[in-house]
């Protein structure tokens, strides 16, 4: 577990720094782009094995391509939402189409990745700001 999370951390740090540098070369940068860069690098590190990473990637790529389509889809899905665990489904990317058991599985992985992502980003920030 520790080895897997450390591998994820190193790869995420690498990808995130690279995308940050790419963003730096552009003229217009805002925080949303940095956030997307973080999410995309995390999802691409995790790969296509997980549903949530696939959902994140497709969401961000489609949004950059065609924002209207994504909005329509969201409205459709929101109508067919369960009452009990709808909140969790909304939060975990790609959770709208999973059954409950897979949703819990994906949530565990997502939490793991988010914690490591937050830690790496904090460390990068510390190093850059000093």
């Amino acid at each position: 577990m520790t080895t897997r999370s450390s591998i994820i951390r190193t790869r995420f740090a690498y990808r995130f720094l690279r995308s940050l540098r790419k963003l730096n070369q552009k003229e217009k940068t805002n925080s949303r782009r940095v956030k997307y860069a973080a999410y995309v690098s995390m999802a691409s590190v995790v790969g296509s094995k997980r549903v949530w990473s696939r959902a994140v990637l497709s969401k961000i790529r489609n949004r950059s391509l065609n924002p209207n389509l994504v909005k329509k889809k969201k409205k459709k899905r929101r109508s067919s939402e369960e009452s009990g665990f709808g909140e969790l489904r909304k939060i975990v990317p790609g959770g709208q189409v999973m059954n409950f058991y897979n949703l819990l599985d994906e949530t565990a992985d997502y939490i793991n990745c988010l914690t490591s992502q937050v830690q790496v980003m904090k460390n990068i920030l510390n190093l850059l700001s000093t």
Binding site: L17, R21, T29, K35, I111, Q117, M121, L125
Partner: protein
């Protein structure tokens, strides 16, 4: 039990009674002995050729007097019971020729009733004086018949859920078993999630745990947002030094990536001297692979 007998019984009577009757075949065989002796049934002997040894053993235990008593008491009914006990078609047809109240009996009465009454009859033919004993025996035989039906219905649930054991008082049909297995899987996952989320172990109740998990994820997402905002500011401020770095020197030389990944001030087990070298190696390897 032999499967062919069961099949014959289910074919001949087309109701569950024959199956349960086949389950209690020792009594049936005894009755067959009676029926055999009374009717001189050749067909029955031919059909039950595998049981001839047992039938003879049973016939030895039954006296001639009980046979006559049985025939006198219930007429052809005893013979009919014997036929049904053996699960034979030929004997059944012959009996229906002689009298048809047995066929009515089979068609109208349910399985347990039939078992009880048949067993009672058989017991009456074996021990005619004691009514109480016959009742007790009938009850026990019907009990075994019920068990037989339960056992026949048990292998129905699919093999995936065979490891799920029903405790006392729990339902045993396949839907309940599947539902229980699903719930167990979900609670297992919930435990894993509870271990992941800090401060979630003390929370009791699935809804509260889910709330806690949702809050934690939201806080993490907000943290990512906040950090990206800060990073954006720092990044734009540090525009020049990063740009001056050549792309290939980004790895360990430009930044202390191990410090980035695992924190510099955090007192963790990663910061130990023995592991840091290995991590350096790992970082370099991953960078090489990625580039």
């Amino acid at each position: 039990m032999d499967p062919p007998i069961i099949n014959e019984g289910s074919f001949s009577a087309a109701n569950p009674s024959s199956y349960t009757l086949a389950e209690i075949w020792p009594f049936a065989a005894a009755a067959n002995g009676g029926g055999n002796g009374e009717l001189g049934g050749g067909g029955l002997g031919l059909r039950m050729s595998s049981f001839t040894g047992l039938l003879e053993a049973a016939a030895n235990s039954i006296n001639e007097s009980t046979l006559t008593e049985q025939s006198g008491r219930s007429g052809g009914g005893g013979g009919a019971a014997g036929g049904s006990g053996g699960g034979n078609v030929g004997v059944r047809k012959r009996d229906m020729n002689s009298e048809d109240d047995f066929s009515k009996f089979v068609s109208t009465s349910d399985a347990n009733d039939l078992d009880g009454s048949v067993a009672k009859r058989l017991k009456a033919s074996q021990s005619k004086e004691e009514n109480g004993a016959s009742k007790v025996e009938a009850e026990s035989s019907s009990h075994t018949a019920n068990k037989g039906t339960e056992q026949s219905s048990k292998p129905e649930p699919p093999k995936d859920y065979i490891h799920v054991r029903a405790r006392r008082g729990q339902a045993t049909d396949s839907h309940s078993l599947a539902e229980r297995a699903r719930r167990e899987k979900i609670s297992e996952r919930m435990k894993i999630l509870q271990d992941l989320v800090p401060g979630c172990n003390k929370v009791i109740g699935k809804a509260l745990v889910l709330d806690e998990i949702i809050n934690y994820i939201q806080s993490l997402q907000r943290q990512v947002e906040f950090l990206s905002m800060k990073l954006e500011a720092v990044n734009s401020r540090m525009n020049h030094p990063i740009e001056t770095n050549p792309s290939k020197d980004l790895a360990p030389s430009a930044f202390d990536t191990t410090g980035m990944i695992f924190g510099t001030q955090a007192p963790r087990e990663y910061a130990q001297g023995t592991q840091s070298e290995w991590l350096h190696m790992q970082v370099g390897n991953s960078f090489d692979r990625a580039t």
